[in-house]
């Protein structure tokens, strides 16, 4: 590699790392408990007791649950329903009114029902009044630094810089290791050399995982703009025939259970886990928007939206999901490591800790630059400089 090219990669590695390291250390440290979020939730919350029913008992009708919710809060509107596909429970979310919900989504509250009996299991306070759970705070720190979309875009930029740092690090690894055996940690040399060798070793063996984490992390950070693009293009085109029509009032709504069955007939084999009511800005003003997924390990992660006319209960469309939303769907498990049981999560945590060592040793190498103790001066420069045609490592070592 030519000296100038090498210098350019070195410059890129240095500055992309320097800018992103603080954020990345925070992301790695908050990511560690998040890997085990399910286990922590299960351990910290009291177990929910569900009615014992014979296998194959169907869920109670969504109409019945919506009716119970409506009688409990007669002045409020239902904004959506979530059907848990792990536990037999259904969540009905409600808000004081559509304008209030549009202005602040955190006025929403949930009623949890036993899916088999329709018994109310639990009720939440409005999200705005609920004290935040510790894991929610950790997630927010990891995802947006408590700064919403601005924070997400900032961390997406940091993620791109991290990927740049990893790629440029790989480019530099080649010339660096020309005269060294794989895995060399030169114990007899200065602390700086040992840390450098460790940085290179752990960096290169975690490189594939780190690039996957970086790119899937960036994808996850971009979910808000990606959904907005989809809403403004594909969804807007699909809703064009309704444009200008008055949206249905609560009285006009057809059966939500009927709409679910319509969606199930339209997309056989698909499990529907949520419905967004007409009125939610994340849905359609005229439709029930159902989200369904397949049943295999992969397709259970790929979501397909189905629009059912909320007035007539007729199918409008099984929406073809654009590639970027499927990429986003796949990025979620690949980032969180929650798709291969507890052993995979433990492996995730160990790889995360190795990345912390790479980041910390990189930071050390940068902070300790230009403070060469006499005798370590050559250490500080080689073997990069040797590639630049000054001294061979072997001669320096001798």
């Amino acid at each position: 590699m030519r000296t100038r090219t090498l210098r350019a990669w070195q410059w890129m590695h240095k500055w992309s790392s320097v800018i992103c390291t603080a954020s990345l250390l925070l992301i790695c440290l908050t990511g560690l408990p998040l890997v085990f979020a399910d286990e922590i939730d299960a351990w910290s919350a009291p177990p929910t007791v569900y009615a014992t029913v014979p296998a194959g008992t169907p869920n109670v009708s969504l109409d019945r649950l919506a009716g119970i919710a409506g009688r409990m809060y007669p002045d409020e509107v239902i904004t959506g329903i979530v059907i848990d596909d792990d536990e037999p429970q259904v969540f009905v979310s409600m808000a004081p009114s559509w304008p209030a919900f549009t202005a602040n989504r955190r006025v929403r509250h949930f009623i949890a029902f036993d899916a088999h009996t329709g018994r109310v299991i639990e009720q939440s306070k409005p999200e705005a009044d609920e004290p935040p759970a510790v894991m929610d705070l950790v997630l927010s720190l990891h995802r947006d630094l408590f700064a919403g979309l601005a924070g997400e875009l900032f961390l997406a930029t940091m993620g791109l810089l991290f990927v740049t740092a990893v790629v440029s690090g790989v480019v530099l690894y080649g010339p660096f290791m020309r005269k060294l055996d794989f895995g060399t940690v030169r114990d007899h040399r200065s602390r700086r050399i040992r840390r450098l060798d460790l940085h290179n070793l752990l960096g290169v063996i975690t490189v594939a995982w780190a690039i996957v984490m970086g790119t899937t992390g960036v994808m996850n950070e971009l979910s808000t703009p990606l959904f907005a693009i989809w809403q403004r293009t594909d969804v807007a085109a699909m809703l064009a025939p309704w444009r200008g029509a008055p949206p249905p009032s609560e009285m006009d709504l057809s059966s939500v259970q009927g709409a679910l069955e319509t969606a199930e007939r339209a997309a056989p084999g698909m499990t529907f886990t949520s419905v967004t009511y007409p009125g939610d800005v994340n849905g359609s003003p005229y439709h029930y928007l159902f989200w369904g997924h397949g049943s295999s390990n992969l397709t259970s992660r790929l979501f397909t939206p189905v629009l059912v006319d909320a007035r007539t209960g007729q199918l409008t469309a099984v929406v073809e999901t654009p590639w970027y939303l499927h990429a986003l769907d796949v990025s979620v498990p690949l980032h969180f490591g929650d798709y291969g049981g507890l052993p995979l999560k433990i492996i995730w945590a160990l790889l995360d800790l190795m990345t912390v060592v790479v980041l910390a040793s990189g930071l050390y190498l940068w902070l300790s630059r230009r403070q060469p103790v006499v005798g370590n001066r050559v250490d500080a420069l080689e073997p990069m400089e040797s590639e630049l045609g000054r001294k061979s490592i072997r001669r320096v070592a001798e």
Partner: protein
Amino acid sequence: MPRSSVFWSVWRWPLAIAALTIVGLLAALLGGHGVWWWLSWTTLLTPIAVALRYWPLRVFFRGD
């Protein structure tokens, strides 16, 4: 040393580990449970095992 052998001596282990990592990441995602999960766990343990071998446990491998 010819260029190609330098390339392989530098890159064979990093490339092998990266390939195993990718196999491990995809096995659990594309395959089902059972054997696919075991494939995923064992392949993804390679970078961890290599790290242990060359870093904290390297003193035990001196002289090889």
